[in-house]
């Protein structure tokens, strides 16, 4: 029997059980309605066609309200729905959908009948028309061979998927105007434009698309209101009947008008989220600073007595469940990078206000409690810890850490602000940051590809050490390089490695700017553009740089620790201690260490990154600095410099699969490393040493975010003193300039039990990398990787 949780109402517990026990299903309604619409609108501008398709969906989709729901709206026929967006890519779906129900990571339910309908009625129209096909046709051959499904550089979520990576501006825009206001503004703007003015032509289409999108979301809400009224008329239970009538009232008001209550504001947020999901199937569509922009509604309702804490909590729980129920439909390749049905909707609480004062309030605490109470994997709860934050807040944070959910992601407020200043934000906006996706510091009036490309550092090193070739396939993948044995000095090897990293950066940029150009041409974002006020003022779509800030795409470096550890082994064993030769090391790696046990023991004994030893940490720092300089030297299609990051996602597993044995002692195909975290199990000293190592990287320049994941033995946070002490440790770590830390506090014992009896542990959340997800939803390989992270204990 699945454990029930405390602190939630019976209704929420029923909704929660449904969420935990239901496998997501694919619903093709969105794809079917979009396809029919597109057939009808051939010849019109693409932005209008996309807006019309959205409008068609909102007008025709058979809306449903499920039992017990308080917050309503789904993107498909099921509570747990995944949708298809063939305009981005249909090919991978065509190839993979028959195995959706059986694939090891993130399976979806889909019937053979559904597959047949999709193949006969939906996909044929998109042949030759999808973003994927155009992208692959446009990509130069030399980039394609290392960028398409290789694990070397990976950006398939930017050409098989929409971008997402937006934080709607509720505070300054949506809640102020409502969609009725946006509609009116767009009509006024449109009236002032003239076809005779060449520059206005795109704007005219933009505003027409805005008007359609606003009308569409209002229409959808009203259809839910109609349904709720109809259901109320039939409802026997008086309490539910009253609820349905209230739902109807709320849906008549929002999102057309600015919200006037906490309930209305909550439903408003969900309709915006739903609009984003329907139009794009996005990753990282972030709620943002929920405790800030929701507080006025909460405070007013509490004051007037309209709401009590339990009522507020129930709405928050209901919203958290909504964020968790839908699934971001992704390919098997992408699941390797973003495992665990994760949608990366980041919700950030705490920190500073725009004026610099402390931002925590009652809602901040309710959000932390709600995440503990409902145990959903979404939203991704992040906290900003500022130096002057209340001690109670920090205690609430470490208390949540002690529950072992992996939440919250803990961020250094000041470092986040510093990162945004470095990226060119105005100071008030830089103070008003929230996280995007997992750890990227972000602001709600921004267009940015916050997770543009994953760059495999370990692969780059392999090419430097193996004549430019993959050790596993023998194929030439990198720049030319000489045979390992002919390098004369350590420095030469380090330089060669960095140069190969530079080459991967180059191809990442090529791949990104091509995708950026195609996004602007093929898949503009009329609905999500309504969420950013600046787009409306300028009359320009998000994909064309309509936001107030257009920040350069983020390239994420993976395997920092593996490369630093490997170079340290070469430096120490070959050039300093001279206990081995490059030739012997080369042979050992080619043999995947088989028959070279003594050498491997020596390699493993060389100090590893994560133990606060400058010998190896300095190599990691130099590589990170190099990566920053190289990345920043490139500019994107809007003239913004690219940004570096060391963040997570589960990317360290698929990237490891393509890399042969490495000098650090790692065996071929084993995972590499995430963010600025140490190699699993090699941070033997303590989490404090790991933090000190990590803090040596200059976090503030990596404006795409940095990530440190640590496992803590649960007894370190089982007492009030332990929780206070962890708070102090976090403060100390942040005082060193570091940006992020997140803890898994589950004992290995518990994880092993969960592997054996997944039925009993369906709701067990673990930190994967930058996010939390249900442990039992991870593939066995991922589970092992989690367990392998060294648990730090002390007594």
């Amino acid at each position: 029997m699945l454990k029930t949780v405390t602190g939630v109402s019976e209704r929420i517990e029923r909704l929660r059980q449904n969420y935990v026990n239901t496998k997501p299903s694919i619903c093709y309604e969105r794809a079917r309605l979009y396809t029919e619409s597109h057939k009808r609108t051939e010849g019109k501008s693409v932005i209008l066609r996309r807006a019309e398709a959205f409008h068609d969906f909102c007008a025709k989709f058979e809306v449903r309200i499920f039992e017990d729901e308080l917050i309503v709206g789904t993107a498909g026929r099921f509570r747990r729905t995944g949708i298809l967006t063939p305009e981005y890519s249909w090919k991978w779906v065509d190839k993979e959908m028959d195995t959706f129900p059986t694939r090891p990571q993130d399976p979806y339910l889909i019937t053979p009948d559904q597959c047949a309908t999709i193949r006969s009625e939906i996909f044929p129209y998109w042949h030759g028309k999808s973003l994927e096909e155009h992208f692959l046709a446009a990509l130069p051959e030399e980039t394609a061979r290392i960028a398409v499904d290789t694990g070397i550089i990976d950006n398939d979520s930017k050409w098989r998927q929409a971008v997402g990576e937006i934080t709607p501006d509720y505070e300054g825009h949506l809640f102020v105007k409502g969609y009725g206001g946006i509609l009116k503004d767009a009509e006024e703007k449109l009236a002032a434009l003239d076809y005779l003015n060449a520059e206005d032509i795109d704007r005219i289409d933009f505003y027409k698309a805005t008007i359609l999108s606003a009308k569409a979301i209002i229409l959808l809400a009203n259809r839910y209101a109609d349904l709720a009224e109809g259901m109320a008329a039939e409802e026997q239970d008086d309490a539910r009947k009253a609820e349905l009538l209230e739902i109807a009232r709320v849906c008549r008001r929002v999102p057309e008008y600015p919200p006037q209550s906490f309930h209305e504001a909550t439903q408003f947020i969900w309709f915006v989220q739903l609009g984003g999901i329907i139009t794009e199937n996005p990753l990282a569509l972030n709620p943002g600073r929920f405790d800030q922009f929701m507080y006025p509604y909460y405070a007013a309702d509490m004051d007037s007595g309209k709401l009590d804490k339990a009522g507020a909590k129930e709405l928050i729980h209901a919203l958290w469940l909504k964020y968790s129920e839908w699934v971001w439909t992704i390919s098997e390749n992408t699941t390797g990078y973003f495992a665990g049905y994760n949608q990366f909707q980041n919700l950030t609480v705490g920190g500073k206000k725009r004026d610099g004062s402390d931002a925590t309030n009652e809602l901040t605490y309710l959000c932390l409690e709600a995440t503990d109470e409902v145990r959903t994997h979404q939203p991704g709860l992040s906290v900003r810890v500022q130096s002057d934050c209340p001690q109670e807040f920090l205690y609430a944070v470490t208390d949540l850490v002690s529950k072992g959910t992996g939440f919250p992601a803990i961020h250094n407020d000041q470092a986040g602000t510093q990162m945004l200043l470095q990226a060119g934000y105005e100071p008030e906006d830089a103070r008003d940051w929230n996280n995007c996706g997992c750890v990227v510091p972000h602001f709600r009036q921004t267009g940015q590809w916050t997770s543009a490309v994953n760059v495999n550092f370990a692969a780059a090193m392999e090419y430097a050490l193996n004549e430019g070739k993959s050790r596993l396939t023998g194929e030439k993948m990198g720049l030319d390089a000489k045979p390992l044995a002919s390098y004369a000095s350590y420095q030469e090897i380090e330089d060669a490695t960095f140069e190969q990293v530079g080459n991967l950066i180059h191809h990442s940029v090529v791949s990104t700017v091509i995708a950026q150009k195609l996004h602007a041409e093929m898949v503009p974002r009329p609905f999500l553009s309504t969420c950013i006020g600046h787009c409306l003022e300028e009359g320009r779509d998000l994909s064309r740089g309509g936001a107030k800030y257009n920040v350069g795409p983020v390239l994420t470096g993976i395997g920092l620790a593996v490369v630093a550890n490997s170079l340290a082994v070469i430096k120490k064993l070959v050039f300093e201690d001279k206990v081995t030769t490059l030739a012997e090391l080369d042979a050992a790696m080619n043999a995947d260490w088989e028959g070279h046990d003594a050498l491997r023991t020596k390699a493993l004994a060389v100090v590893k990154y994560g133990n606060d030893d400058d010998y190896v940490d300095a190599i990691a720092r130099d590589l990170a600095n190099y990566y920053y300089r190289k990345t920043r030297a490139y500019k994107d299609n809007f003239g913004s410099p690219f940004n570096s990051a060391f963040m997570g996602i589960s990317n360290y597993i698929p990237t490891g699969r393509i890399v042969g044995a490495t000098p650090c002692g790692r065996k071929a195909t084993k995972p590499i490393t995430e963010g600025v975290s140490p190699y699993a199990g090699s941070d033997v000293k303590s989490p404090l040493a790991a933090m000190r190592s990590s803090a040596k990287m200059n976090h503030d320049v990596h404006t795409g975010g940095t990530l440190l994941n640590l496992r803590l033995s649960e007894d370190l946070v089982s007492t009030p003193k332990g929780k206070r002490d962890l708070g102090s440790i976090i403060r100390a770590y942040f005082s060193l300039g570091a940006f992020h830390v997140q803890f898994n506090t589950l004992s290995t014992d518990v994880l092993r039990k969960a592997q054996k009896n997944p039925e009993d542990y369906k709701d067990l959340l673990v930190r994967v990398a930058g996010y939390s997800t249900q442990f039992v939803n991870l593939s066995p390989e991922m589970q092992e990787a989690i367990i392998a992270r060294s648990a730090h204990g002390s007594y």
């Binding site: 046990d597 003594a598 491997r600 023991t601 020596k602 493993l604 004994a605 606060d612 000293k685 303590s686 989490p687 404090l688 040493a689 000190r692 370190l716 003193k721 332990g722 206070r724 002490d725 102090s728 440790i729 403060r731 100390a732 005082s735 060193l736 730090h792 002390s794 007594y795």
Partner: protein, 305 residues
């Protein structure tokens, strides 16, 4: 300077382990430094390798996969994985430890430089500063290596780092008297109030220990009395009453902490080939521990934390 001279002037000493992120050894986040050497032989000791200061080679049989790398490299022709390993012939060169792929071998009681220890403390200091923590000297019995302790404490004073000490109380007062002024808090073990029982379980009577407790208290260092609570040894009411009376009469203001016995040290006895010295005891139940505390409550003795 020869190692023996360094030991004399306190710039070198024998360290079992430095453990950062200690949260049960005093205020805040602390780095606990375990110094080797102890005059007691408590039958429940969890750190038996700390009894003496000489170097030792541990062999963790459960990790060993029998690859024989250790035997192959040993310059003395020894087999550290063998049951009849002759420790008297071992030079503790560490070759076998480096060669073992399973980390099944480990040297204990290494000589360490005070400077190296201070360097580590310097790194941990940022965590002390934010948590109100510091260094805790433990053992073994930390006052055994009082010269070494003296130089480490001087280093802590220079850095402004708080010093706490965990002692079994069995040490020469005259040699350590001067150190008291630099200690912020002492955890002091009282294992039994009856000297004969004390001798039976620890090898020594309790006279010196109780005298030292009074002297420390008189010197003004805040104290917490700790009792390793063991069903077969000291759980009976008479003994706990006597301890509480002693505290009330001689150590007013000091606090009490009861540490229920655990068997976590068991594996060490076999790893250090000391299985003969291992004794098994019974862990008191939570209820028994609560009853024990209530006795101290009656004497209005505050609990630690």
């Amino acid at each position: 300077m020869a190692a023996t001279d360094k030991a004399k002037d306190g710039t070198m000493g024998t360290v079992l382990q430095m453990q950062d992120y200690s949260i049960h050894d005093g205020d805040g986040v602390r780095t606990t430094i375990f110094l080797a050497g102890c005059g007691l032989r408590c039958q429940w000791c969890a750190n038996p390798e700390s009894w003496t200061q000489h170097r030792k080679l541990a062999y963790h049989a459960h990790k060993c996969r029998g690859c024989q790398s250790c035997r192959t490299v040993c310059p003395e022709g020894l087999d550290p994985a063998a049951g009849d390993f002759d420790a008297t012939r071992c030079t503790f060169c560490g070759d076998c430890v480096a060669a073992c792929p399973e980390k099944a071998l480990q040297l204990a009681c290494e000589q360490m430089d005070a400077d190296a220890i201070m360097e580590q403390i310097r790194r941990d200091e940022i965590f002390f500063r934010h948590s109100g923590g510091g260094v805790t000297f433990s053992g073994g019995e930390p006052f055994v290596q009082h010269q070494f302790l003296r130089s480490l404490m001087a280093g802590c004073e220079r850095l402004g780092v708080s010093v706490w000490v965990e002692t079994c109380g069995f040490f020469k007062w005259e040699a350590c008297q001067d150190l008291m002024a630099g200690i912020d808090h002492i955890f002091f073990d009282i294992k039994h109030m009856d000297s004969e029982s004390h001798r039976r379980f620890t090898g020594q009577g309790n006279e010196t220990i109780l005298d030292n407790a009074k002297r420390i208290h008189a010197s003004g260092v805040p104290m917490t009395i700790r009792i390793p609570l063991i069903a077969e040894v000291n759980l009976e009411e008479n003994n706990l009453e006597a301890t509480a009376r002693f505290m009330r009469d001689h150590l007013p203001g000091s606090r009490i902490e009861l540490l229920p016995y655990h068997e976590l040290g068991k594996a060490k006895y076999s790893a250090f080939r000391m299985a003969d010295s291992f004794h098994s005891f019974t862990t008191p139940t939570e209820a028994q521990t609560a009853v024990a505390y209530s006795i101290f409550d009656r004497y209005q003795i505050e609990r630690y934390q």
